[in-house]
């Protein structure tokens, strides 16, 4: 028990250190790499909480592909953050402190972490755990919940990912016309650039 708590404290402290480092570093390459490490540490935390599926996703998406996409973006925007020389922003600081204080105050009212009679343990979770062997018969209950009980939600998630693709392609993708022109140019190289 003490060991688990030590690991928790260690990982959470690591998260705090990384967040502060990300805030203070002006080199964007370094902060992206730190973001990747942040995701990896979060994945370890999820694993400590026995949420293997979430940890898996966090490691693959957060530490893996998101870092790569950010790095690819970096090649377009340059790697130094612009220095903001305007006056200190006091109002945002006050708002952040008040909101943070309210959130910490709210934690006091939360039920004890991991207690058996928490609402999260007594709501739909028992039904999923007890009934899914009969209703769905899939050993991984997470998959049963994700794909069957919450099939609508997951359909929505897939649509969100698809929408993100559509948005990116509309904003910075090559248009179909451009691809056609490239194909034309490849077919007859002597006409290259003739359309521009």
């Amino acid at each position: 028990m003490i060991m688990t708590q030590m690991i928790d404290i260690f990982l959470l402290a690591f998260l705090a250190v990384i967040s502060i480092a990300v805030l203070r570093i002006r080199d964007l390459f370094t902060s992206i790499v730190l973001f990747g490490i942040y995701s990896l540490v979060s994945a370890s935390l999820f694993l400590v909480l026995a949420a293997a599926d979430v940890a898996f996703t966090e490691a693959a998406v957060g530490a893996g592909i998101a870092t790569l996409l950010l790095l690819a973006t970096l090649t377009h925007v340059g790697r130094e953050e612009k220095v903001n020389r305007q006056s200190k922003a006091w109002l945002p600081l006050v708002i952040v402190l008040v909101t943070g204080g309210a959130l910490i105050y709210g934690i006091v009212d939360l039920p004890p972490f991991g207690a058996a009679d928490n609402p999260v343990q007594t709501h739909v979770a028992p039904r999923y755990l007890l009934e899914s062997p009969n209703e769905i018969d899939v050993p991984n209950v997470v998959t049963a919940v994700l794909a069957s009980y919450r099939g609508f939600d997951t359909l929505g998630e897939v649509v969100v990912i698809f929408t993100a693709l559509v948005a990116v392609l509309l904003l910075i993708g090559r248009s179909g016309r451009r691809e056609e022109r490239d194909a034309e140019n490849a077919a007859n190289p002597e006409k290259e650039g003739g359309h521009e």
Partner: protein, 146 residues
């Protein structure tokens, strides 16, 4: 990135195993951690490694963006059509019970198909996003706007 012999050879060794692991995560999601989302990202990361080592043009020859766009849409469509199929079989939308001979078999068929749809969409979306982000530079160079 033309002379990186060691990374190229190591990468070449890695790519097939990453693809295989992606397929394992996709189709073993019923039994262990994983599923369409994770499998899609892992599968796409194999192509990302390939792109980093051999350039975006070569990667796009293997996985043409036109086809990837179709696959991305087909994944969402597959998911939604499973719902339509359950409607036609007399159930509620995405109620897989009616798909098989008995409810549990229907659930298994439904989950496999739906996860496949998720995997297809996530794989092709991730690859297209990476291609789009890595590609933009040469367009800017051609236009001479920088």
């Amino acid at each position: 990135m033309n002379e990186q012999l060691i990374s190229r050879i190591v990468g070449k060794f890695l790519v097939p195993y990453i693809l295989l692991f992606g397929l394992y995560v996709q189709f073993h999601g019923d039994y262990g951690p994983g599923g369409g989302f994770q499998a899609g990202v892992i599968f796409a990361s194999a192509f990302v490694i390939y792109t980093l080592l051999f350039g975006v043009e070569k990667a796009m020859e293997i996985a043409p963006p036109v086809i990837l766009k179709l696959v991305a849409a087909a994944g969402v469509l597959l998911y939604a059509l499973v719902g339509v199929a359950t409607l036609l079989d007399g159930g509620n939308y995405l109620d897989y019970d009616v798909l098989g001979e008995y409810p549990v078999a229907g659930q298994h068929i439904g989950i496999i198909l739906v996860e496949l749809g998720v995997g297809l969409t996530v794989t092709s979306v991730m690859m297209l996003l990476f291609f789009t982000f890595s590609q933009k530079d040469d367009e800017e160079e051609e236009g001479g706007s920088r």
